[in-house]
């Protein structure tokens, strides 16, 4: 927690918004504490605590794997690992998309009570979803041991891949947090669109299923955002196109996010 003693002035809202951003990013203590608190709140009333997240996810992946391996006539072992990796990454993407518009609305109490930067609430929310993601990943790890071990040297690509994905997530979380504070009908629309994209993106089906309609996956940015982590988790390096698309998405989203935050931060308290 940065001590705020010292002189500062409100003049340019833009300069102050950028100050909010840099203070927020540096206040790792505050946003990690809040993120952990969010995770704890999510399972406060459950019997198994954090294990509940893992268990429910495992049941979901297992049921889907068995059902679709029968429907699509695929080999269960490799399909299970594909699904465990893909759905877990998808869940991180869809949860952050759907939670984005709530970020500042939910943080109203803290924003009105303490002199903390608003940007910590974006980072706190993203981190809390990453913590849940880590719990979900136990299913993937279990699948490696129990079903099929697909890990090799290429798996290391998952590290830069995940970094790019997280940057993109921070970008859209910031944008949605600002828009969601001003416009309250964003959330249901995003939930509907996200559900549709779950069906249209190769998550429980594979890109190879598209055959000559391969382009349908390639024009879908969500496909690339999943692939940049999923490919390495399945022991393959991501395609150059995937790197190009995901890095471009991360850069564009973050530039937009900083510009929007700098422009609109000063209005935030009037919207809440």
């Amino acid at each position: 927690m940065e001590n705020l003693s010292g002189t500062y002035k409100i003049m340019g809202g833009t300069a102050l918004a950028l100050r909010d951003l840099s203070r927020g990013v540096r206040d790792i203590h505050a946003w990690s504490l809040l993120a952990w608190d969010d995770v704890v709140a999510r399972y406060r009333r459950t019997l198994l605590g954090p294990l509940w997240i893992t268990l429910s996810h495992g049941i979901f992946v297992g049921a889907l794997a068995i059902a679709f391996s029968v429907i699509f006539g695929q080999e269960l072992a490799s399909y299970f690992v594909y699904l465990a990796a893909g759905i877990t990454i998808w869940l991180l993407i869809s949860n952050t998309l759907m939670d984005g518009p709530h970020i500042f609305v939910r943080a109203r109490g803290l924003l009105f009570s303490y002199d903390l930067p608003a940007s910590i609430h974006v980072l706190r929310t993203v981190l809390s979803h990453i913590i849940s993601f880590a719990h979900h990943m136990l299913i993937y790890v279990a699948a490696l041991f129990l079903v099929a071990n697909v890990v090799n040297i290429n798996t290391l690509w998952a590290i830069p891949g995940f970094a790019v994905l997280v940057l993109a997530i921070i970008g859209w979380s910031t944008i949605l947090a600002i828009l969601g504070a001003r416009y309250r009908d964003l959330m249901p629309a995003i939930a509907a669109a996200t559900q549709m994209m779950f069906l249209l993106t190769p998550i429980f089906w594979e890109r190879a299923n598209l055959q000559q309609h391969d382009w349908f996956a390639l024009v879908n940015p969500l496909y690339h955002l999943i692939e940049v982590v999923r490919r390495p988790l399945l022991g393959q390096a991501p395609e150059p196109l995937t790197w190009a698309v995901t890095i471009a998405i991360a850069v564009v989203l973050n530039c937009t996010a900083v510009a929007l935050f700098a422009w609109k931060r000063r209005h935030l308290s009037y919207w809440l």
């Binding site: 927690m1 001590n3 705020l4 003693s5 010292g6 002189t7 500062y8 002035k9 409100i10 003049m11 809202g13 102050l16 203590h29 505050a30 504490l33 809040l34 608190d37 709140a41 406060r44 109203r108 109490g109 803290l110 924003l111 009105f112 009570s113 303490y114 002199d115 903390l116 828009l179 001003r182 416009y183 309250r184 009908d185 964003l186 629309a189 931060r265 000063r266 308290s269 009037y270």
Partner: protein, 269 residues
Amino acid sequence: MTLVRLSDIHLRYPIFRSGRAYSFFRRVARQASGGLLGRNDQDDITVVNALRGISMELREGDRVGLIGRNGAGKSTLLRVIAGVHWPQSGVREIQGRVSCLLDVTASVDIEKTGVENVDFVGRLFGLDRAARAALMEDVATFTELGDYLLLPVRTYSSGMMIRLSFALATALPGDIFVVDEVIGAGDAFFMERARERARKAYTNAKIIVMASHSDVILSYFCTHGIWLEQGLIVDYGPIDEVLERYTKQTPRFPEGTSYVRPHHNLEPV
């Protein structure tokens, strides 16, 4: 040194009168159709000129009460000092750390117990284990909530909630304490203790700014008063004199005054 200096603060904020004003898709449709679709924004959004050129300077030891009718701009001014609202123009200069109590339920998580709330706020502000234990002790002593501290805050009565919020806000290190109308006049016992605590909180020559409709509370806590009317400062001075003129509705500066230093209240501005 502790200082609050506001120079020519102007603040307008929008009030969204209807659900339509909150709609993203209505806005997009309007924008895309060049304004043909949907009603004009002005039909749904009212802009309030909440502060219309506020200048003031508060120094160490100032205990200032804001007086005025509903909608005069008291809460808005407190939020500007606290750094919650960012005005459209003007300069805000703060030396020292601000702690505020603007909304009783805002600073606590009602799903958490009292103890969890205190511990969480302690952690948020980077207090170590010993300091958090001291904070807990302090809050428990002041609030006298006893075993209620082990229950979720949503089970508290509003009086208990005020005690907890007030204890938390005053326990944190702060040089400038900003309080909106939260201390009810009814609980005389609490008021006495709150004043004791407030006195303790500003032994290091701190600044207190508070808003209230209660003469009793204002003259109890404050040495000086600032009278707001429609976003302008129309009077200021020693609290009893300002309260007296407020009762008679005879402000010294009906058109608003430009620069207020309550501790120099006898000098003409």
